[in-house]
């Protein structure tokens, strides 16, 4: 077992790199109070907009706050938003799609039309509207992201379920008289779940990007929370002090890259035959 794990890491550089990057960010997020040299919120106007130096590795922003510390603390929000959104959207989408696919008929039709209506709407605008309705903070932003994300999972799950439900073990259960719910929970979902899992792992990167985009537009947590997207947007006004927008953006990039490397690697490993789009 250990040997095959080692082989997995060795044969796939990018996957390994992805794991290292993500572990690094997770550790940084957890150990932030220990790793960050300065408080991320306290201001010091005498040290405004200083270029990166030994004292301030990533320089300071327009309030004199240390950007390195803010980037480390900021990892928490991106990680939380990315992972939580995928988990919740995935769970909702899985059940929704499984029910639609298994029950079929008009129920399926209506359910899928509803999810398509959400899908055909530009996700950013929808998220903005939801945010406007509910007010702007971390949880409401995640709520908006979840609403926008679940239809994709639903559609995937449904298409997989459509083929799985013809399988023999399902028809056998039906013949035996098992209830629909039981079949759903015991046969259908467990056998269809792998494609959803694969999509979920690649989706984490996407959600991190979406979250940082909403945060860039000012729809995330309120200032002075050190969210990366918002830090980049602060930096736009100080374009020539490239470190203000540069480093937070780099952080978003590396975290998304890490998540995507993991997702890609997992996909190659777990299901080499599954190349179809849904």
């Amino acid at each position: 077992m250990l040997r095959s794990v080692k082989k997995m890491f060795r044969s796939n550089y990018l996957f390994t790199l992805g794991v290292i990057i993500c572990l690094a960010w997770i550790l940084a997020a957890i150990l932030a109070p220990l790793l960050a040299p300065y408080d991320p919120i306290v201001q010091d106007l005498t040290m405004r907009l200083k270029a990166p130096s030994a004292e301030h590795l990533f320089g300071t922003d327009n309030f004199g706050r240390d950007i390195f510390s803010r980037v480390i603390y900021g990892g928490r929000y991106s990680l939380l938003a990315g992972c939580l959104t995928v988990v919740i959207a995935g769970v909702i989408g899985t059940f929704y799609g499984a029910i639609a696919g298994y029950v079929g008929g008009w129920t399926d039709n209506v359910m899928m039309r509803l999810s398509e209506m959400i899908l055909s709407f530009p996700s950013l605008i929808l998220a903005m509207i939801i945010n406007a309705v509910m007010g702007s903070n971390l949880f409401n932003t995640m709520f908006a992201l979840i609403i926008v994300a679940w239809p994709t999972y639903a559609r995937l799950m449904r298409s997989v379920v459509l083929s799985v439900k013809e399988n023999e073990y399902v028809t056998a259960s039906e013949a035996l008289g098992a209830s629909k719910i039981r079949i759903l929970m015991k046969e259908i979902i467990p056998n269809s779940i792998s494609s959803v899992l694969i999509m979920a792992t690649t989706d984490i990167g996407n959600q991190i990007l979406m979250f940082s985009t909403l945060s860039f537009l000012g729809l995330g947590s309120a200032p002075p929370t050190p969210e990366w997207g918002m830090m980049v947007s602060d930096g736009v006004d100080y374009f020539n002090k490239f470190w203000v927008a540069g480093f937070p953006g780099l952080a978003i990039f590396t975290m998304a890259v890490g998540a995507n490397f993991i997702g890609d690697g997992l996909r190659d490993l777990l299901d080499p035959k599954l190349r179809k789009e849904f």
């Binding site: 201001q43 327009n62 309030f63 000012g218 309120a222 020539n240």
Partner: protein
């Protein structure tokens, strides 16, 4: 292969079909530019064109509906008013008016027009045009209608004489008459295009679409082209009745990117950049042929604390209000806002007639603030929410001001939790309805006169938003009318100073900073100056 090509061709045809349908409906202005194209594409069409870069566009250029920051620049170029501010900090002077006279009780103002004024269309200006323009503004009930509130009625004694009957003595009436919404329109042309000035104008007037793309005024320039969100072209009015400058054409480009403004200014592609920032100005420090102006405008950011305990909680307590006033780091705030910022003494901004200038530089005192808090019963400080909206004050984000305030108040034990709320999604309503407990907001002057600031008095528009009713301070509230009626300048200054003294350390408002404007311009131009009423007065600019 063939099938794929067919499919691709289908796709392209459908898309092109959509765009062809879409392209069919166009604003008339783009057809006008066909003639312009030839002269424009010849590169820089000679040095008598001045290019201005402006940070944001406008929804409307119809004087009867304008309310945004930038339209006055265009309206001041294409139209004229009875009176005008030729200098940012002085009193209004006659422009289209020849003579004017107030009655003894100040309730009547008689104005005579100069001779020989003609509109760009060639039509001569008469008192009928004045009546039409001002009545239209009033009756459209649009954003700027309030400015004609004190005008009860008008009559034209003859072709050149207008009598204004005011609802009360109004010390600011001349300033109000300078405002862009009371610009004098060519009534014949506007009526031809659906303009109406009668009582039901708000539902029957249809001239806005016309006036949004074409000017109908008597000013030095004529608007010849307007592409929304891209540019406005102003060309010299060939029938201008007065003395024009030597600038034949203005191209006002809408350029929200401050770095592009900076770069094009330094290469000479544009002549005036209206939205320089601290960051971009630093880049131009060594540039030749470029000058920068940094000056405080009259747009002021202020902290508002609700006097009503239900909304304000701890900050409804006057001792707490004074403690907060003492705890804010004003010089730090000025650094955040950029060069040229200053903190006004009280509610009358520095630069206005009657202003007492700036607040003392050493006003901040943390010890006094803590003592006051203890007296009020908050020796250990308190927690409070500060609602902030997504607007900006001359480019300075309100959330930035909020973060500074949060940091300052943390020094005296007040723990501020910033709550962000979009303007159109709740904040605007709460602000208008007076239910905001603690916030930082900004106030742009509607017209260039200290009387606009009277709204901060108890019972005034902004005062009520802070729950400060007239009953809470009748003496101060009465000064509203006193100032309005004080048509003698010295008398008005005296009342204004009394108001500022009363509010220096009292009341639910803390005036934090007057936002600076930063204009960069090419030194081949003369007469470039920051103008509060017009943003940039192009009628004063000449090419050297």
């Amino acid at each position: 292969m063939k099938k794929r090509l067919l499919a691709l061709a289908m796709g392209v045809v459908i898309v092109l079909g959509c765009t062809a349908c879409g392209g069919g409906q166009d604003a008339p202005s783009t057809e006008q530019t066909e003639g312009e194209n030839a002269s424009n594409t010849a590169g820089d069409s000679g040095s008598s064109t001045v290019v201005i870069a402006m940070g944001s566009g406008f929804s409307t250029l119809d004087p009867g509906y304008i309310y945004e920051k930038y339209p006055p620049l265009v309206i001041n170029a294409c139209y004229e008013n009875l009176f005008k501010f030729y200098d940012n900090d002085s009193a209004p002077e006659p422009c289209l008016a020849d003579t004017y006279e107030f009655s003894e009780d100040g309730m009547t103002l008689t104005v005579t027009l100069k001779d020989g004024i003609t509109f760009a269309s060639g039509n001569p200006m008469t008192s009928a045009d004045v009546l039409f323009s001002i009545n239209r503004c009033k009756n459209l009930q649009g954003n700027p209608a309030f400015i004609a509130e004190t005008i009860d009625s008008m009559e034209a004694l003859d072709d050149k004489t207008i009598v204004f009957h005011l609802t009360q003595a109004d010390s600011a009436i001349l300033s109000k008459l300078t405002y862009s919404s009371l610009a004098i329109l060519d009534s014949a042309v506007v009526k031809e295009n659906g303009g109406v000035d009668t009582a039901h104008a708000s539902t029957s007037d249809t001239a806005q679409a016309y006036l949004d793309t074409t000017s109908a005024g008597s000013g030095m320039y004529v608007m010849t082209s307007y592409i929304p969100d891209e540019e406005v072209v102003l060309e010299k009015n060939p029938n201008y009745w007065g003395e024009a400058t030597n600038v034949d054409k203005y191209i006002v480009k809408i350029q929200p990117d401050s770095n592009t403004q900076m770069m094009t200014l330094s290469t000479g592609d544009i002549d005036v950049a209206l939205n320089m920032t601290d960051d971009t100005m630093a880049e131009l420090a060594d540039a030749e042929g470029v000058e920068i102006i940094n000056e405080a405008t009259k747009t002021v950011g202020f902290v508002m604390m609700n006097m009503n305990e239900t909304y304000g909680g701890p900050v409804s307590n006057p001792k707490v209000q004074q403690a907060i006033r003492k705890a804010l780091d004003y010089s730090g705030m000025q650094i955040i806002c950029g060069e040229g910022t200053l903190t006004p003494y009280a509610i009358i901004q520095s630069g206005f007639m009657g202003s007492k200038g700036e607040r003392a530089a050493d006003y901040m005192n943390l010890e006094e603030a803590k003592a006051l808090l203890a007296e009020a019963g908050y020796a250990d400080g308190f927690d409070i929410d500060m609602t902030v909206t997504d607007l900006d004050m001359e480019g300075i984000l309100l959330t930035d001001l909020a973060q500074k305030i949060k940091d300052d108040l943390a020094q005296v034990g007040i723990n501020v939790n910033i709550v962000a709320q979009p303007w159109a999604a709740g904040y605007g309503d709460a602000y208008r309805d007076g239910t905001l407990g603690f916030t930082v907001m900004y106030w742009g002057t509607d017209y260039n006169d200290p009387n606009v600031q009277l709204e901060f008095l108890p019972g005034g528009v902004v005062g009520l938003r802070a729950g400060w009713t007239a009953e809470m301070n009748p003496e101060l509230a009465a000064m509203y009318q006193e100032t309005m009626a004080a048509t003698d300048n010295d008398a008005r200054i005296a009342v204004l100073e009394k108001i500022q003294d009363a509010m220096y350390e009292d009341g639910p408002f803390v005036m934090v900073a007057q936002a600076p404007a930063h204009i960069g311009y090419n030194t081949r131009l003369s007469g470039v100056a920051i103008s509060d009423p017009y943003v940039l007065d192009v009628t004063l600019i000449n090419i050297q």
